[in-house]
C-alpha cells in the first residue's frame, strides 16, 4: 500500500471517530468558558447515546430512516435539560463544580441502564435499523486523491461537527453573547458591574454544553456503536475534556485536538494493516495516541491557561 492509499484509510476513519469528540468538546468550551468546570461531559455523552438509541428504536418503525437524525436532536435537548442538574448544583447551590460533575456521571450511567431495563427488560438494547451512514460526497469524492481522503465514506455528522466548530468560534468571539459569556468566565464581578447576569450566562453555558455533549453521544451511538449498553460510552467524555483543554478552551483548538485524537487512534488501529507499522508490537500502537498527546502538550502546545474564574462559584461582593 502506498501513502496515498494509507491516508485514504486513516483520514476518513479519523474524521469518523472524531466527530463525537468534537461535538462534546465544543460543548465543554461553552460550559468552561462561562467558568463552570464540566467533568460531567462523560455522563452527558452517555445519556445522549442512551437517549438517541432508545428514541430511534421507538421511532424507527413509524418514521424510518429519519429516526436517527430526529433522535440526535432529541438527545441534544434531553441532555440540555439533564445538564441543568449540574448547573443548579454548581451555580445556584454553589456546589463544588467538580463534585457535581462527577455526580452527574454516576447518575447518567446508573439511570440510563436502569431505564433500559425498565423499557426493554434487558441491560443492552437491540441494534437500530437505520443509522447515520458514511457517505461519499457527490462530485467532490470524485476529485483524485483528495476525494478519497476527505470526501469518501465519512458520515455527514463529521462535516457538521467541523462546521459547528466554526459557528461556535463565531458566536464566542464575534457576538455580544460570546463576549459576555467569556467575560463571566474570566471576571464575573466585572461582568456583574457591567450589568451582565452572571448566573444566567453560566446556566446558558452549562445547558449548551449539555446540548452538544448529548449530540456527541448520540452521534457515537447512531453512527458507530448502533446500540446502547453500559459500556457504549467508556471514557470518550474524558477524552473530549482532554481535547478541550488541549485546544486551550478554543472552539477551533478543541476541534483540532479532537481530530488529532481521531488521527492518532485510527493510525494506531489501522497500523496493524500498514506495511511499515505492522511489525511494531501492538501495545505501542495502542498507547501511541495518548503518549503523542502528552508529548504534544509538553513540546509545543505548552501551558494551557484556562478561564481565570474557572471552577469558582460567584458571590456578589466577594473580594
Amino acid at each position: 500500500m502506498n501513502i496515498v492509499e494509507i491516508l485514504a484509510i486513516i483520514i476518513p476513519t479519523a474524521l469518523y471517530s472524531a466527530a463525537p469528540l468534537v461535538f462534546t468538546a465544543l460543548g465543554g468550551v461553552f460550559s468552561e468558558r462561562s467558568g463552570v468546570v464540566n467533568i460531567g461531559l462523560e455522563g452527558l455523552m452517555l445519556f445522549g447515546a442512551f437517549t438517541s438509541i432508545t428514541t430511534t428504536l421507538l421511532m424507527q418503525d413509524s418514521v424510518g430512516s429519519v429516526a436517527p437524525w430526529l433522535s440526535i436532536v432529541i438527545a441534544g435537548i434531553v441532555c440540555a435539560l439533564f445538564a441543568i442538574i449540574h448547573a443548579f448544583a454548581s451555580i445556584t447551590l454553589k456546589a463544588d463544580q467538580v463534585v457535581s460533575g462527577v455526580a452527574l456521571n454516576f447518575l447518567a450511567s446508573g439511570l440510563s441502564v436502569f431505564i433500559i431495563k425498565q423499557l426493554f427488560g434487558k441491560g443492552q438494547t437491540d441494534f437500530i435499523t437505520y443509522r447515520v451512514d458514511k457517505i461519499d460526497v457527490p462530485v467532490l469524492s470524485q476529485i483524485p486523491v483528495l476525494g478519497k481522503w476527505f470526501f469518501s465514506s465519512i458520515p455527514v455528522t463529521s462535516y457538521l461537527a467541523i462546521i459547528l466548530a466554526f459557528v461556535c468560534w463565531y458566536v464566542l468571539y464575534k457576538t455580544p453573547f460570546g463576549l459576555r459569556l467569556r467575560s463571566v468566565g474570566e471576571h464575573p464581578m466585572a461582568a456583574d458591574t457591567m450589568g451582565i447576569n452572571v448566573i444566567k450566562m453560566r446556566y446558558i453555558g452549562v445547558i449548551v454544553s449539555g446540548f452538544f455533549a448529548g449530540i456527541g453521544g448520540a452521534v457515537y451511538a447512531t453512527s458507530i456503536s448502533g446500540n446502547f449498553s453500559a459500556t457504549t460510552i467508556a471514557g470518550q467524555g474524558f477524552l473530549a475534556l482532554a481535547a478541550l483543554i488541549f485546544g486551550k478552551w478554543h472552539p477551533l483548538g478543541a476541534m483540532g485536538a479532537a481530530i488529532f485524537f481521531g488521527l492518532a487512534q485510527s493510525l494506531s488501529i489501522t497500523g496493524a494493516q500498514i506495511p511499515v507499522l505492522q511489525d511494531i508490537p501492538s501495545v505501542y500502537l495502542r498507547i501511541a495516541p495518548y503518549v503523542l498527546t502528552i508529548l504534544a502538550l509538553t513540546g509545543f502546545v505548552g501551558r494551557a491557561e484556562g478561564p481565570k474564574a474557572l471552577g469558582t462559584s460567584y458571590e456578589k461582593g466577594k473580594r
Binding site: M1, E5, A8, I9, P12, T13, Y16, S17, K122, G123, Q124, D126, F127, T129, R131, D133, K134, I135, D136, S153, Y220, S223, I224, S225, G226, N227, S229, A230, T231, T232, A234, Q265, S266, I269, T270, A272, Q273, S282, R286
Partner: protein, 335 residues
C-alpha cells in the same frame, strides 16, 4: 440470603447461573446459556426466579459472592459462564465440596496453570475451531478478491481457536486466499471494530469473520455502510445467528453458532438424572450439534453448503483435525 424454594416448591431441583461482566443479554454465550436453562426449566415445569435463576456480575470482584449466593441457598447446580469465573468457581468448589458447579468455556487451572479437575465441577468447553473452520471454507468460496479478514476481541487462547479454525478452513478450501487478522484488544469498542473492518475492506477483503462481541458491532456497521454504497462485502457472525444484525442491508453471510444452550440443557438434564459428570471436561462440537451453521442460510450458495457438509463429515469422522493454536495451525495441512 433466601433459602431454596422461596415462594413455591414446584420442584426440588434448583439451577443457578452467574454471568460474567457481559451480562445476561450479551447476545452471546451468557444469553445462550440462560436460554438453555430456561428451556430446561420450562420442560420440567420449574419456576423461574426460584427454581432456576441467574445473577449478573457487574464487576470481577462479584463472581465469588454471586456464586456463593446460590451455594448458601443450596442450589443443586450452579453455572459459571465464561473463563473469567474460573478462579471464583475453583475457590467456591473447594470451599463447598457439597455444591455442584459447571464452568463454561474453561478448565480449572492450578498454580502452574496446568488443568486440574474437581469432583464437584464439570468443565464445559466447545470446539469453536470446528465451526470456525466451516466459516473459513465458506469465506474462501465466497470471496471474489481472494482476501478475507478475521477480527478478534481480546487476543486470548479462546479467541485464537476461532482464528486458527477459520484460517485452516480458508486454507483447506482455497490456499490462494489471503487472511488478514487483527485483534481489537477488547470486546466493547465498536469504533475500533469499524476502523479495523474499514481498513480490511479497503485492502480488498470482502468477507470478515468477527469474534469480538460488542467490538463486532463496529464491523457490522462498517459492512452495512459499504453495502449501502453498493460494495459487495460480507460479515460472518459469531455465537448466535446474527442475521438480524445484518439487516436491512443484509450483510450477514452466515454465523458460527455456539449452542451453549445445548450444553446447559444437557448438563442440567444429566445432573437431575443423578449422573452429574463432575471432574470431567465435556466437550461439545459439531458431532453434538452444539457447534455449527446458523439456521438462516439464505445468503449461502448451493456449492458453499455442499462444501460445508463435505468438511463437516470429514471433521466429525476425525479425518481432519482442526487446529486450535498458532502452532497447530502452522503444522496444519490437508491432503
Amino acid at each position: 440470603a433466601c433459602g431454596k424454594g422461596a415462594g413455591s416448591n414446584s420442584s426440588d431441583f434448583h439451577i443457578g447461573m452467574v454471568t460474567d461482566q457481559g451480562g445476561i443479554d450479551d447476545k452471546s454465550f451468557n444469553q445462550s446459556a440462560w436460554e438453555g436453562i430456561e428451556k430446561y426449566g420450562k420442560d420440567h415445569d420449574m419456576k423461574k426466579g426460584t427454581d432456576f435463576k441467574y445473577i449478573q456480575s457487574t464487576s470481577q470482584s462479584e463472581f465469588e459472592p454471586n456464586l456463593s449466593k446460590f451455594v448458601d441457598a443450596d442450589y443443586d447446580l450452579t453455572y459459571g459462564i465464561g473463563f473469567y469465573l474460573e478462579d471464583a468457581i475453583q475457590q467456591m468448589a473447594e470451599e463447598n465440596p457439597k455444591s455442584r458447579f459447571a464452568l463454561v468455556d474453561s478448565l480449572l487451572l492450578d498454580k502452574n496453570s496446568k488443568p486440574v479437575f474437581l469432583d464437584n465441577v464439570v468443565n464445559i468447553t466447545f470446539r469453536e475451531e470446528q465451526g470456525s473452520f466451516l466459516m473459513g471454507v465458506i469465506a474462501a468460496k465466497q470471496t471474489k478478491t481472494n482476501k478475507v479478514g478475521f477480527v478478534g476481541g481480546a487476543n486470548s487462547p479462546l479467541i485464537k481457536k476461532f482464528e486458527n479454525g477459520f484460517k485452516a478452513g480458508v486454507k483447506a478450501a482455497n490456499p490462494k486466499v489471503e487472511v488478514y487478522s487483527q485483534y481489537a484488544g477488547s470486546f466493547n469498542e465498536a469504533d475500533k471494530g469499524s476502523t479495523i473492518a474499514s481498513a480490511m475492506y479497503d485492502k480488498g477483503a470482502d468477507v470478515i469473520y468477527t469474534a469480538a462481541g460488542g467490538t463486532g458491532n463496529g464491523v457490522f456497521t462498517e459492512a452495512k455502510n459499504r453495502k449501502k454504497k453498493g460494495q459487495d462485502v460480507w460479515v460472518i457472525g459469531v455465537d448466535r445467528d446474527q442475521y438480524q444484525e445484518g439487516m436491512p442491508e443484509n450483510v450477514t453471510l452466515t454465523s458460527m453458532v455456539k449452542r451453549v444452550d445445548v450444553a446447559t440443557y444437557d448438563i442440567s438434564k444429566r445432573t437431575e438424572k443423578g449422573n452429574f459428570p463432575g471432574g470431567k471436561e465435556i466437550v461439545y462440537g459439531l458431532k453434538e450439534n452444539a457447534i455449527g451453521l446458523s439456521p438462516t442460510k439464505k445468503n449461502l450458495s448451493k456449492e458453499e453448503l455442499a462444501a460445508v457438509d463435505e468438511w463437516k463429515k470429514k471433521i466429525s469422522d476425525g479425518e481432519v483435525n482442526v487446529p486450535k493454536t498458532d502452532d497447530e495451525f502452522a503444522s496444519f495441512s490437508v491432503k
